[in-house]
């Protein structure tokens, strides 16, 4: 079904088919970008819109070799990375401010869920955990999406996971001390 819709867009520039594709895939892309931009809804939706626009413009380059959603994730991640590079959007400042800077203990007290702990990870660490655990992408798919070697994917997942664990332990010990 999805491949037929893609074909229609590629062949006839069919807007309705693309709208259907967008309805099917907007949720994971928007969720992913929201988490990456630390829940900044305005910026994440702007990035998501640009992702779909770019997908529409370059849809002929999609050759159906992987899942369409993985291809969209790749564009979304590129959009996010280039938005960080430009350093013009508010997200960039937030990402840098909130990334691991050794002072996380002061902020961690109020955090209760794993999602909130993601704030302390670097953007690539956050992205890799979300792609793997929240969106069920395989290591191979993640390597394509993030354009990194397969070995790096495995290392990065392990490292990010352990980092998250250590942040949670600090959080728990802070709470215990407070009591």
């Amino acid at each position: 079904m999805e491949s037929k819709l893609v074909e229609r867009v590629q062949r006839d520039n069919d807007h309705h088919a693309f709208e259907q594709l967008m309805r099917q895939n907007q949720s994971p892309i928007r969720q992913f970008l929201r988490r990456l931009t630390l829940q900044n809804q305005a910026i994440s939706d702007e990035l998501a819109q640009d992702t779909f626009l770019k997908a529409f413009v370059h849809i002929k380059t999609y050759r159906g070799e992987g899942k369409f959603l993985s291809w969209l994730f790749k564009i979304a991640y590129q959009q996010f990375v280039s938005s960080i590079r430009k350093k013009t959007e508010q997200t960039n400042v937030e990402v840098e401010d909130k990334a691991d800077d050794g002072k996380f203990e002061h902020r961690i007290v109020a955090e209760k869920t794993v999602k909130n702990l993601l704030v302390h990870l670097k953007p690539d660490e956050r992205a890799i955990l979300l792609l793997h655990f929240s969106h069920d992408l395989t290591h191979q798919e993640i390597a394509i999406v993030m354009q990194i070697p397969l070995g790096t994917v495995k290392t990065l997942i392990r490292r990010s996971r352990l980092k998250l664990k250590s942040f949670a332990e600090v959080s728990n010990s802070e709470k215990t001390n407070e009591k």
Binding site: H15, F18, E19, M22, R23, Q26, S27, R30, Q31, R34, R35, D45, A48, Q49, D50, F52, L53, F56, V57, K112, T113, V114, K115, L129, L130, F133, S134, D136, R161, L162, L164, K165, A168, E169, S171, N172
Partner: protein, 111 residues
């Protein structure tokens, strides 16, 4: 908070989000696509206009002169300045005609 970061299923549950879907989002993207297509078309038409203008200015007067057997050279003599100017007007007329043609392509979405 339960601390079980080595359990894949638990981590999946913790990191999963609620389903997001709204028509406003799709509508905004569709609008962006339409805007993008208009811009691309505009660039195409601008290029076409420049090409036709250049072509008209460079070749039309000479072509007409060749066909009307008034001259075989771009260099015109004193006596032939007036007919040459008239031919330039014809060139301008052809350019205008091209603009109208391009406008009708755009207006009636022929491309």
């Amino acid at each position: 908070m339960k601390n079980d970061f080595l359990d894949d299923e638990w981590l999946k549950d913790e990191l999963s989000d609620e389903y997001i879907n709204d028509d406003d989002f799709s509508f905004s993207v569709v609008k962006k696509i339409a805007l993008h297509e208009t811009k691309s078309k505009r660039n195409f038409y601008a290029t076409l206009v420049v090409m036709i203008t250049l072509f008209s200015c460079l070749f039309i007067p000479d072509l007409i002169m060749i066909f009307t057997e008034h001259s075989t050279s771009i260099l015109v003599s004193e006596q032939k300045i007036l007919p040459f100017m008239q031919l330039e007007y014809m060139g301008v007329f052809v350019i205008l005609l091209s603009f109208i043609l391009i406008w009708s392509f755009e207006e009636f979405d022929l491309i």
